[in-house]
């Protein structure tokens, strides 16, 4: 990642070539943009917020008083990927997701990869995301990672890297869908001029993919199909909008822990006509809260006894409990080995170079180069608990050094990549900002589906590299062009 004032010529700008010419991906869009009236565009940019507020696409932020609802800022300049680029990316993503799933199966069964000495045992021993009671159990269809979000960054024309794997409970897909809806209602003529792959079938694909993952013989829903339910922590959860949105679009039930109960060996939901079995639970609560009998005894978000039903093969939990270990950044650092071990191929999508501070040599290097590196907690997420060396003050680096030395195995470090930029609309015209990309992957016994597009997060502050919505990031509509 880049440092201060990073939109220099050394950055890969996705729209413009260094000589000022427009890259092929953006040719049609820029052609359209040049014909638009500047005052009209300005009005349009303020319309977007109103439209999001009306539909209620908000996330909750907990202040001191009461939960307050905010919008994730939306930028109306799309992020555009060519068909050829997307083909390459999706091959790499598919390879990685298959490897992740095989890795999880292996980890909870024979642990061949550890016996082969390719990853150390300490990675999961003592890791909070590791679930002992998944050992020896195979989830229906052998699928652990039903829904995955792979975070990608770009540094050059052909240089894409995986920054993070999100297999625990990846979120943000509702923004992928609503950003497109908003763009289509704001600029209908644009979509008749530029051929863009659709993303709107994601909920249907998700519904199909989840139903295909039901345990054999479990089909209690309408028309003899499996009944799918989305498990939400409730209306005060920051992602509740997304949970309700997906359930609504899929035609699935939206349940809370208090709606579910284990009756006659099945997980059943309290309907107006009595209890009715659920076959597939797309849960948006963490493992720890899933079953108070097995995990967190104080949890009111989960279902007592659900793990017994799960282990008896009477319900599918998506993603499978214990999958969150894949999000660990120490495990991430072994992904090249993991991909090779299970697929027999070189990874098509490289990792960002990563130093594991658990290794003495790496730690020494990291301590010597703190002001050039990004240092992250291995279990951290959301952009918290990290040091961005080039933008940190001397004092921040000193404080971080103390934390790092006290507990080195809790950290990994990466170089500050020169992240690509894509322009955003500002009052003064277009201005480049750093972006990343999270495509969404569905994995069922029927196969892998990757929706052409994804969530583009953008750092709205000039020069900033932090794209997380919790820290001032925004989103863009992401286009994959048709051939």
């Amino acid at each position: 990642m880049a440092g201060k004032g990073s939109e220099s010529a050394s950055n890969f700008d996705e729209m413009k070539q260094p000589d000022g010419g427009v890259r092929p991906a953006y040719a049609d869009y820029c052609g359209w943009l040049d014909e638009q009236d500047a005052a009209w565009l300005k009005r349009k940019s303020s319309e977007a917020d109103d439209s999001f507020r009306r539909t209620g696409i908000t996330f909750n932020v907990y202040g001191e008083d009461e939960a307050e609802e905010r919008l994730i800022p939306f930028d109306m300049v799309p992020r555009i990927i060519t068909a050829a680029e997307w083909r390459k990316l999706s091959r790499g993503i598919e390879q990685r997701v298959r490897a992740l799933n095989s890795f999880l199966y292996d980890l909870y069964h024979r642990q061949e990869i550890i016996r082969a000495g390719r990853v150390p045992e300490r990675l999961f021993r003592g890791n909070d995301a590791w679930l002992q009671n998944m050992v020896g159990f195979t989830p229906p269809g052998g699928i652990y990672t039903h829904i995955v979000g792979i975070d990608l960054v770009r540094t050059g024309p052909d240089e894409f890297f995986v920054l993070e794997d999100n297999a625990r409970t990846p979120s943000g897909v509702s923004y992928m869908l609503e950003n497109r809806e908003t763009m289509m209602s704001m600029f209908p003529d644009l979509f008749s001029q530029v051929p863009v792959e659709t993303v709107s079938n994601y909920p249907r694909r998700l519904a199909r993919s989840l139903a295909a993952s039901a345990p054999p013989g479990c089909a209690h829903g309408k028309g003899g199909k499996p009944r799918v339910a989305v498990l939400t922590p409730g209306i005060y959860n920051s992602a509740y909008f997304e949970h309700a949105f997906l359930a609504d679009q899929m035609g699935a039930e939206l349940v809370e822990g208090s709606d579910l109960r284990v009756i006659d060996g099945l997980v059943q939901m309290r309907t107006t006509r009595g209890y009715a079995p659920v076959d597939v639970l797309y849960r948006r609560v963490d493992d720890d809260y899933l079953d108070p009998l097995t995990f967190e005894p104080e949890s009111v978000l989960g279902v007592p006894g659900i793990m017994d039903v799960y282990r008896a093969g009477k319900i599918t939990i998506a993603n499978a409990p214990g999958t969150g270990i894949c999000d660990d950044k120490a495990i991430y650092s072994f992904m090249p080995e993991i991909v090779e071990f299970y697929t027999g191929e070189k990874p098509l999508l490289p990792n960002v170079q990563t130093w594991r501070c658990a290794d003495d040599d790496s730690l020494a290097y990291v301590l010597d180069n703190l002001s050039d590196l990004v240092v992250k907690e291995v279990h951290g997420s959301g952009g918290y608990g990290m040091l961005i060396g080039p933008t940190a003050s001397k004092k921040e680096i000193r404080t971080f050094r103390t934390k790092l030395e006290a507990n080195p195995q809790n950290y990994i470090a990466q170089p500050t990549l020169s992240l690509s930029t894509c322009p955003i609309y500002t009052k003064k015209g277009l201005s480049p900002r750093h972006v990343d990309l999270r495509p969404f992957v569905l994995f069922s016994p029927d196969g892998i589906e990757i929706t052409p597009g994804g969530l583009t997060r953008v750092a709205l502050k000039k020069g900033s590299l932090v794209v997380n919505s919790s820290q001032g990031g925004g989103t863009k509509d992401t286009w994959v062009l048709k051939d």
Binding site: R53, T55, G56, L254, V255, S258, T271, T272
Partner: protein
Amino acid sequence: MLGRTANGLFWMFRYLERAENTARLLEAGLRMALTRDVTTAQEEWRSVIATLGLQAQYEAANDGYDGISTWNFILRDKANPANVRAMFGAVRTNARLARIEISGDVWEAVNESWMKLDRMLSRPVGQGAVGEVVATIRRAGMRVHGALDGSMLRDEAYHFARAGTFVERGESTARILDMKYFLLLPSLSYVGSSLDTGQWDQVLRSVAGSRVYSWLNAGQIDARGIVEFLVLDDRFPRSLAFCRGAVSTNLAALARMNGAEVSCHELMLNADNIMKDLTVDDIFDRGLHEFLVDFMNRNAAIGDAIAEDYRFLA
């Protein structure tokens, strides 16, 4: 559908109705206060607060009954947990809860109305603004009902929403009548005096029935006529007979869909029987107050039975 979601729908529409009824009561009070002397106006505001069952809370927080204090107390005062702003918050919270059972149109109607009202009620409401606030609350109700009517499948969700609406509306009309019952007793007849005509007109205004009553009765206002209209006229959508009939229809639809009648249907049948062939003389013979209290008790019992029968709570 889930019992918890049915609960959300039922209460979403109860709160929506409650907010609208409160606004209508307030609007009638406003009109009354404008056309009377100060003492009568104060008495009128006291009566509005009493009809809402807020007398104790109001008097603990305020010294006297002036218009500004009264409507701010009703609309937005934190000392009154049942203020309209909080009610509308409850409408929206319940709509979010039941989000997958309501159409996008209904959700947007609720959400946009809430955004507007919440902004209007974030500051004290002055003399110049109160009329617009009250009109906005009424329009919000109309818009949500319109969206419901025009965009929702007539399935369980629709009937829980409608049942909530009419349980609440019946309760509200009965309570307003009960508060004024002493004015309506023919034995205390002040027929012809301007005070009483005004008071009775105010009752009709509180339930949006003034215009239509005058039209039906050629401008003649009397106690028997008003009771007959508000209790027995099943053409008027805020009368007790209409509300009871509507709940009855919705419960019958639920029974059809579920293939079974349950305890709320039995209570409904008993309640229907009381209304059958009832005349205004029967009501006055029995005592208007006694009749209204019995109506409200049965109404509440039906509401409780719906929650129990359809597993609203774990």
